[in-house]
Amino acid sequence: MIAELRILPPLAIARFGGAPTPMDNYDAIVDPEEPLGYRRLQPVETLEVDVDSGEIARAFVPERLSFSEGGEVRPVAPFLELWALTDGGQLEPLTIALLQDAGATPAHVRWRVQVANRKAARRTGDEADRIEADSGELADHARHLLDGRCANFWPGKSIPFGHVQYVKPSAAHPQVRLRFTPAAGNVYGASRTRPAAGRPADPNVTDVVYDGRRGRWLGHVDTDNTSTVPAFIYRGDSEGRSVGYLDDGCDGIVRASLTVAGRTLSAFGRVGAGPPTYAPDALPIRSVADELEQALFGPTVTPSEATLERVEEIVRRAFETVRLMNTAAMNRGGMAAHDRGTGRRADPIMAPALVDDIAVENLHQSLLAALRSGSAPWFADALRDFDEIGDLSDRGRRKMPAMMRGADGRHLTLTRRQIDLIRTLVRGPVFTDPGGEAT
């Protein structure tokens, strides 16, 4: 008996690209022989979906990884799997067999995807500026275009947000899943007169879609404190007036439902489409996963959660970010320049001798090396607390993470949960073995 359905992962991120073949699957692994180096990108099992039948045509491990194809980027098109909570009390994949046990078939599963781009509507405050796509209820295994429609578009115009396909379960791949393929990452334009057929005059845009006489997006200016922060982050002219550009990014909700014997179970998940990760062997120091974990589990950790592995992962991510930043330049620019805007004295953030990029990278590598020995981290005092973002003294600005901007526009701090993880480990024994046993 199926008690509940869940879509996993609960939040899936697609990434733009115009190439016809979606990006292969890979792992990014820390090399045990070179733990201070870059994660190694290793091709792993990749699923290829047949466009017509909707079945997984093959599962294979690519020989080489290529992120582009013919000058275009290969989009990342995530699968969203349907899982079932069964009587056994566990979550398991919803497969043909499990459906059969419940007296159903894949034909009893329905999907529906609703995504939108509200970037213009957010600025103008006009609901008619929302660009929305609704797949409607999907029962078949064909590709369905997510067509972004807007009341303020020219008649017949839309922005394609990509497509979705209910993958047809088969004997070799029996799980129920949906695939979301994002759009190419194009730019769309606006006009005050009906656009002519054919290629747009403006070479920046793929199509002119927005009716600048109907809606206020063309010519919009951020004016008051309802504006986004930062403001003026849309393409504008020299007076900050929007030129009406839109993109094919979106986010939204995926629903799945199973109706059998008059009973309907449903689940939902979330998707979003954004730009590629251009350094695929690196992870950001602070991520949406960190936010969701703090929201789920709170700002403090239990001692058993504070492991060397978790702390090492945070340090590794700091290191992966730092080595792609020019710390010498950012010592005077970036946040240092931003602070000058508040009237703060124009000092560099760190002593200039210290910010050579390679030296900073080496220091983080030493930290990683020492953590591997099982020594408790001692840099907890160097971390900036969430309520220290207003401290622009020399000492305050030198705390970690340094030279980066946070969501409030001030110097970045980790989530409170991340900081507590590190501090809780500090409270433990100074020396432990990698298994966590004090030595």
């Binding site: 697609a14 990342v76 954004g274 929201a295 700002p299 792609l324 320049a337 004295r345 622009l392 989530t415």
Partner: protein
């Protein structure tokens, strides 16, 4: 393969078959100013039933019924949690001066409230937006508001799910405050705070004098290696128009710190 239904970490990080690691939330940046994949600040706007807040600060943008009077005011404190701070630092004339006030990002400012008071009433304190920096503006209104859960709940286990609740964000709301078009973000000054996603300094090498040299990721040509900070007006670097027209052909993937050939 099975997953424990209460193992939310496993569910959040679940890599469905065929999905590369960039599909996961750990690959999406969250120092959202405004963000790349999502502006997660939007998740907090409806945390208090009856009002809606700005994603970046305490401005009340909507209020239902009696609460409509709060529109235009700023939420500055929730229970014991303060949402604003003084910004202080040295100036040309003083070692420690009040420079500004700042809101604390929702995620950290309200972490305690979220972890202790979901479903309960909390006392919310509102002030008029101050004209000059004021870390402790006078409170002009208070309201007892119920804390809405951010995460969806399982009807069966009655436990939270690793999933942002439907009421929290409608389709389009998680990305609505990002740059339009998104390419703008790659060219805004100072967007190299997400270097792991949008690299800044690449093809680095050390020199005989000691310091390193390398390229700005936005350099059109990789020779000579002379890093200059991001400047769309610098003809040696890509500009907005280049990205609108051909970001796919011009931007390079960086693996091992170097252009992927």
């Amino acid at each position: 393969m099975t997953i424990e239904p209460t193992n939310l970490t496993a569910q959040l990080h679940h890599r469905a078959a065929g999905n590369p690691p960039s599909t996961l939330p750990e690959a999406a940046i969250s120092n959202c100013f405004p963000g790349l994949e999502f502006d997660v600040r939007n998740v907090w706007r409806r945390m208090f039933e009856g009002i809606e807040l700005h994603e970046a600060h305490g401005l009340v943008t909507r209020g239902e019924g009696d609460l409509e009077g709060l529109v235009g005011l700023e939420l500055v404190r929730v229970g014991e949690a303060r949402l604003t701070l003084a910004v202080r630092g040295p100036t040309a004339t003083a070692e420690d001066a009040l420079l500004d006030t700042t809101f604390i990002e929702w995620s950290n400012a309200l972490a305690d409230v979220l972890s202790t008071s979901v479903g309960q009433l909390v006392t919310c304190h509102f002030a008029a937006p101050p004209e000059r920096p004021d870390p402790d503006p006078p409170i002009v209104a208070t309201a007892e508001l119920r804390v809405r859960p951010l995460m969806a709940r399982s009807d069966v286990t009655n436990e939270p799910l690793a999933l942002i609740d439907e009421d929290v964000a409608e389709p389009g709301e998680l990305t609505q405050s990002l740059c339009s078009p998104w390419q703008n973000d790659y060219r805004e000054c100072g967007c190299y705070y997400w270097a792991a996603s949008r690299p800044d300094y690449v093809n680095r090498e050390s020199t005989e004098q000691g310091p390193s040299i390398g390229n700005n990721w936005m350099d059109r040509s990789r020779q000579p290696k002379a890093y200059e900070p991001d400047n769309p007006a610098d003809p040696r670097q890509l500009d907005y128009v280049d990205l609108f027209r051909d970001w796919q052909g011009l931007l390079r993937f960086i693996v091992g710190g170097r252009d992927l050939e």
